[in-house]
């Protein structure tokens, strides 16, 4: 049964230096508040996993929390580059960042394999690209047809972190709207943390909603607006203006540091 706790307690308990940590949310329900707590608690040497590293990963990378990034698309959606990610890759600032780069389909198959307790996922993909030579992918032959397909190693993070709309007091989690890989990352990870907009007595059924039973989750923490500047369907919209502003903030190392100091480090939760 998930224990319902505070965000700072949950991060302290579940995430250790050197861990493989996946913060997921496909544009929607990105666990920004949890990412900020990782930064405040000064986690180091993390292997960060995420299909679409966006602003929160730019912040984690810029603050020196990450040693390695496993990803498939690292940009500011609809805006452009992730400036801190680029500074790390292009200039090694604040530290070099090792990359393991996949396609979306490959990452998705790897999470599904992890959730299924399989050591690998299978897809028709990667062929005809230079990616195959730069990442962890192998050929696998169909034992019935002889066809060659791609295998990707399962993703089994130490900790999976997602945001969701709400949970009940037993830690049952409910989410709706774009579902992304939220359920898969929770089920693929050794430990899991779900931040929610609110903890409620009863989870009213909602069309399109998925429920993750509390006994399959390690910890739940309330974090209202915990996805901002991403969004929580039915609670608040995506802050598209912030995503555009972030480009300027992150373009400059000092401006970035000042923003993080004022908006993350100096904020007590």
């Amino acid at each position: 049964m998930a224990h319902v706790t505070t965000l700072s307690e949950a991060v302290r308990e579940l995430v250790h230096d050197g861990d493989v940590v996946a913060l997921e949310g496909f544009t929607h329900l990105i666990p920004h508040a949890a990412g900020h707590e990782l930064i405040r608690q000064g986690r180091r040497d993390l292997t960060l996993v995420r299909m679409t590293p966006d602003v929160v990963y730019d912040q984690l990378i810029g603050m020196g929390c990450a040693r390695k990034l496993v990803f498939s698309w690292g940009g500011n959606p609809g805006v452009g580059s992730l400036r801190r990610f680029r500074d790390a890759v292009e200039n090694g600032w604040p530290a070099p960042l090792e990359l393991e780069e996949h396609s979306h389909a490959g990452m998705a198959a790897a999470y599904a394999a992890g959730a299924s307790n399989l050591p690998f996922g299978v897809l028709r993909g990667y062929d005809g690209t230079d990616l195959a030579a730069r990442t962890r992918v192998a050929a696998i032959e169909c034992p019935f047809t002889g066809e060659r397909l791609a295998a990707v190693p399962a993703l089994r993070p130490d900790v999976g972190v997602v945001h969701a709309q709400r949970a009940d007091r037993k830690g049952n989690v409910q989410l709706w709207g774009i579902l992304g890989v939220q359920r898969e990352v929770v089920l693929a990870s050794r430990r899991s943390l779900v931040t929610v907009e609110e903890v409620v007595d009863e989870l009213e059924p909602v069309p399109g909603a998925a429920v993750i039973p509390g006994w399959a989750v390690t910890a739940v923490a309330e974090a209202p607006r915990g996805a901002h500047p991403s969004y929580a369907h039915g609670y608040y919209d995506r802050d598209n203006a912030f995503y555009a502003e972030w480009d300027a903030i992150a373009s400059d190392r000092d401006r970035f540091a000042a923003w993080m100091e004022a908006n993350v480090l100096a904020v007590a939760r």
Binding site: W73, F85, A112, D127, L179
Partner: protein, 252 residues
């Protein structure tokens, strides 16, 4: 999307009703939208592709089915989403499925007619680079990466590429091949349209945007571009198309 280039051109025939002013980016979006047959199922990337698909849906192709990699199937946004995961996509979709499912059951499942892709670089065979400029280990510019492109390029029945024409983008040799050009059916740019030679798969200039000379396209291409003998000029954007496009952009 259509803000980068703003040079206004005129339609070639001042005697037609369509001679309204439009930008090259608008001409590109309209030309791309026209390629979508009504009722086709389209895997939509964000940016220029999303603009073109939503324009098609607002004009000649109201029954186009838009599938976004965020898992929204049959999304009917009223304004252009900034990201592929904006809330309106889920609200207006026929179905919302998980990301592993959208790639496995729907894209790899072979259910998509047309995939729309953009890129930073393209070569003469329609292979695309959205990964790095320069050396992979020591890149000059680290781009976002391949995302959905490798499998979109492989599983959709045909691929349309939308990209602005310049020698930096149309290169002799890609710095990195993020996706294969094997299924590319057309490359729609702000200067013209390129289609593969059926025998060699090399891209050939087959259409010119209104008011553009073939020589200008050859000059903006980083390899010796072949020009089709019967290269034609695109029909300029119509009033209804421009109105719909601008309404979409304004509602963003």
């Amino acid at each position: 999307m259509s803000r980068g280039a703003s040079s206004h051109v005129r339609g070639p025939a001042p005697d037609t009703a369509r001679a309204a002013a439009f930008t090259r980016d608008e001409a590109m979006a309209v030309a791309a939208a026209r390629r979508l047959a009504n009722g086709s199922v389209v895997f939509v990337g964000i940016g220029l592709p999303s603009t073109a698909c939503n324009l098609a849906r607002a004009t000649h192709a109201p029954d186009c089915v838009l599938v976004y990699e965020s898992g929204t199937i049959g999304a009917k946004p009223t304004r252009l989403p900034l990201s592929i995961g904006d809330g309106e996509l889920a609200e207006t979709a026929d179905a919302v499925v998980s990301v592993p499912e959208i790639f496995a059951y729907w894209l790899q499942g072979g259910r998509i007619d047309v995939g729309f892709l953009g890129a930073a670089q393209i070569d003469r065979f329609g292979n695309l680079n959205s990964t790095v400029i320069g050396d992979y280990e020591h890149p000059k510019v680290r781009l976002p990466g391949a995302g959905g492109a490798p499998e979109i390029a492989r599983h959709c029945r045909e691929i349309l590429v939308v990209i602005r024409h310049s020698p930096r983008a149309f290169v002799e040799r890609l710095d990195f091949r993020s996706s294969s050009g094997e299924r590319v059916a057309a490359v729609i740019t702000d200067l013209g349209v390129l289609e593969p030679d059926p025998a060699t798969r090399e891209l050939v200039l087959t259409e010119l945007q209104p008011g553009v000379e073939a020589g200008a396209v050859v000059e903006a291409t980083g390899w010796p571009l072949r020009v089709a003998p019967d290269v034609a000029e695109c029909e300029p954007p119509g009033d209804a198309e421009l109105a719909a496009l601008r309404a979409l952009e304004e509602a963003r």
